[in-house]
Amino acid sequence: MIEFKDVSKTFDAKTGTVSAVKDVNLVIPDGKIYGIVGYSGAGKSTIIRMLNGLEAPTTGSVTVNGSEISALKGKALRDQRLKIGMIFQHFNLLWSRTVLENIEFPLEIAKLSKAERKAKALKLVELVGLKGRENAYPSELSGGQKQRVGIARALSNDPEILLSDEATSALDPQTTDEVLDLLLDINKKLNLSVIVITHEMHVIRKICDHVAVLDAGEIVEQGPVLDVFKNPKQAITKRFVNQETDTGSADDTNIAVEEMLKKYPQGKIVKLTFHGEQASSPIVSETLRQFDDIDLNIIEGNIHQTQEGSIGSLYIHLLSDNQQSIDGTLAYFQTLRVETEVIERG
């Protein structure tokens, strides 16, 4: 378990003191993937770097599995660091070493014998799917492959925690997904706690169990990922959630809705939001069977998968000569426990 208690960090800059992290209180359970999301400069890196003592809090304490990192020094700190793996945005591999030698590097630091190092590194090469590339140098690898080496290296000392510092931010979308799948796989296989910091909500949605939103050094919102996606409270969280759930056509949808409202003044435009199981039930066809004098027009829809279930939204246009049928349909949606929002003119 990881605990941040009243952690603040200030830096002395030429322009005065800069407050990077303010009163952060966090408890991160074992075996989960915990995401911290924020824009650049929000203090994410400072927070994650406190977990392996690369950064010390100005006030407060950081405790990892019972030992207070923020109080450790010298050998005790180095021994603790052996138990924490870290992966980086720019991979930070040694160009002078092959894939295998890079993975063996932390084992050399831990003073394992040559034979033990090799055996362990070979296993990890296989785990991260780089079999056959053991003797390649980093310059011969693609970005995704380099990050796989980074992950294997971070895992070599059997860490209790894996820290991921914007590990997919330098990768293209497809490679990002491959690396995220690998992290998820490792989390499940090794029951390893993973702390992910990122500015991409996509990463949070895809692999995280819990998320904390960081804004200007403060945690403004936290909770299970599905809850935060369903019901974002802070404006910044809404921005992050929209960044992921909008299909990029949000503006188009708004224009289409406006047009529809003008064209069919008698109908109703409704936004339905689905969570979890509802997302897979055939709501539209059921509705049409229930109310045979209803016409239903789908404007836009999307669905996203998170670790705890799906979340989706659907814009529909209800048309009927019979006002009662429309009201009945809206009431019917309520019984299906679908969030319903009637979009009014204006």
């Binding site: 070493r97 050399e108 140098y137």
Partner: protein
């Protein structure tokens, strides 16, 4: 009668090949020994400069300032003056002020600070992130130096020592002219002073060849070790 025309350059019958061989060996020996010492000393000084950069501790700041000042002073003294300046010290250290051995202290003292700066630059070129990654893995300072700093900057260290070696060859010729022996001595005494232009030309060609050999070895080594 002394022949001083262009044709005199090619009167190779005037060249004493055995003393030319000895002089070549002396130049080579002076260069080789001083390079080895300069490589070690320059590496240590460069490391000291690198490790003491941007420290918060006042003591370390002072150390950096002192080392930096010494390096800058010895780098600024023209070599020919440095030799003369160091003559008394050379007498004490080497027991003589004549011959190849006597050239070593001034060669080393002038080249080591130069190489130290190249080493410092080479270390600064290493990606900060890689050093931080090693630190995050729990590496000790010694492990970072020998497992990260040294191998990751090796191509720059090798090309730096190549550049240093070549300027050292130039210095040995200068030292030779005032009594250290070697090809510089031959070119000056047996060539210039004796109006024997063929000797001067031969010494020049041999020095150029030695420079080429060092450059070739250096370039080849860099190519082999650089996997970027």
């Amino acid at each position: 009668m002394v022949d001083t025309g262009i044709g005199s350059y090619f009167k190779f019958s005037n060249v004493d090949w055995s003393s030319m061989g000895t002089a070549t060996w002396e130049t080579f020996w002076m260069t080789a020994v001083s390079i080895i010492v300069v490589a070690v000393l320059g590496f240590l000084l460069g490391l000291l400069l690198f490790e003491t950069t941007d420290s918060d501790s006042l003591l370390i700041k002072a150390l950096n300032w002192i080392v930096s000042a010494i390096v800058n002073i010895f780098r600024s003294i023209p070599f020919i003056i440095l030799i003369v300046l160091l003559l008394p010290a050379t007498q004490v250290i080497m027991g003589t002020i004549i011959g190849a051995q006597a050239a070593l202290p001034s060669l080393i003292i002038s080249a080591a600070p130069f190489y130290a700066r190249l080493v410092e630059i080479a270390f600064h070129e290493i990606d900060r992130g890689v050093l931080e990654a090693a630190e995050a893995m729990g590496a000790t300072k010694a492990q970072i130096i020998f497992k990260v700093l040294l191998p990751e900057s090796l191509p720059a260290l090798v090309s730096g020592i190549t550049v240093t070696a070549i300027s050292l060859i130039g210095y040995t010729a200068m030292a030779g002219a005032i009594g250290a022996g070697g090809l510089g001595n031959t070119a000056y005494l047996d060539g210039f002073q004796a109006n024997n232009n063929a000797v001067t030309l031969t010494a020049t060609v041999i020095i150029v060849l030695i420079v080429f050999v060092f450059q070739f070895i250096g370039d080849f080594a860099v190519k082999r070790i650089d996997k970027r």
